[in-house]
């Protein structure tokens, strides 16, 4: 049951993260709390739109409202992001390893070019 709840929560987090405006809001909040009017400025969005995005983020537990009288600044909660990160860790590791391997190989390829002094051009359709 606990797993189900966790999966449900992850679904909310994924859905919240699926929107680029919401990701930008999170990024903005990562550098400090902000209230709705402060969030409106960089995004050129109307207040109801921002509020709608914020409520999705709040439902996912990514953002909380601070009790600060009038201003009601929002603050980022990083924990659900860590849950997502933990969840996709095997996938991330898989591609990090592949890409690190490719990186290393690309370096070797380029070093070989240099040591052999071949003037081969890497251009599309150039096969020798």
């Amino acid at each position: 049951m606990a797993m189900d709840r966790r999966a449900d929560h992850l679904s909310l987090v994924f859905a919240a993260l699926a929107d680029s405006t919401r990701r930008e809001i999170l990024s903005r909040l990562a550098s400090g709390d902000a209230d709705v009017s402060e969030l409106m400025k960089p995004f050129d969005l109307r207040q109801p739109t921002i509020s709608k995005h914020l409520s999705v983020l709040e439902r996912a537990g990514l953002v909380v409202r601070k009790r600060d009288a009038q201003r009601r600044p929002r603050t980022l909660v990083a924990v659900p992001l860590r849950d997502v990160d933990d969840w996709i860790a095997p996938f991330r590791r898989f591609w990090e390893q592949k890409f690190a391997s490719l990186d290393k190989y690309l370096n070797e390829m380029q070093n070989e070019e240099k040591t052999h002094g071949r003037k081969r051009r890497y251009r599309s359709g150039t096969t020798e």
Binding site: L26, S27, A30, D85, I88, P90, S101, S124
Partner: protein
């Protein structure tokens, strides 16, 4: 250790070398920058002699690496197993080949990957979009289990935050 490092919101703005995002229910986008010219990165993905050398991160060349680089052509990349035989195989079909910018291949009509190579100065950004048949399949892929033998712990498990446009 105060254990704060991983939950410090400021850290979330530091992306690791790889960014992983899930822009839709059935998609996963993996992006990474490579310090090499675009055509070289494209070549490393499309010539068997190259793929055979890097696809297995352990450094062991692939047991089989076949690439029929044309639309509808097949590929088959097989890792070498610890006992020297054939290990895990990755196969599929090419759909679109546009050197050095774009490569699309899939293991089924519903599951495919689109690789886009873009120049960023002298470097190349690879953006790989994996399209899955369903959300369940996407989720299963995100939870993929890597062979215990190859799953070495990476020191830097960067905190997750989707790419900011």
């Amino acid at each position: 250790m105060d254990g704060r490092g991983d939950t410090d919101p400021a850290r979330l703005s530091n992306f690791g070398p790889i960014t992983i995002t899930t822009p839709g229910d059935r998609q996963i986008v993996v992006a990474r920058l490579f310090d090499a010219p675009r055509a070289l990165v494209f070549e490393a993905w499309t010539k068997a002699e190259h793929v055979a050398r890097w696809w297995d991160p352990s450094g062991v060349p692939l047991a089989v690496c076949e690439i029929d680089l044309r639309p509808g052509g097949a590929f088959r990349w097989v890792n070498r197993s610890p006992d020297g035989g054939e290990g895990h195989a990755f196969c599929g079909t090419y759909r679109e080949i546009s050197p050095p910018a774009r490569l699309v291949f899939g293991s089924s009509p519903e599951q495919f990957a689109t690789l886009v190579f873009t120049e960023e100065g002298n470097r190349t950004k690879l953006t790989m979009t994996i399209e899955c048949a369903s959300r369940q399949e996407r989720d299963a892929m995100l939870q993929m289990r890597v062979d215990a033998g190859t799953a070495q712990t990476l020191e830097n498990l960067a905190a997750y935050l989707p790419t900011i446009a």
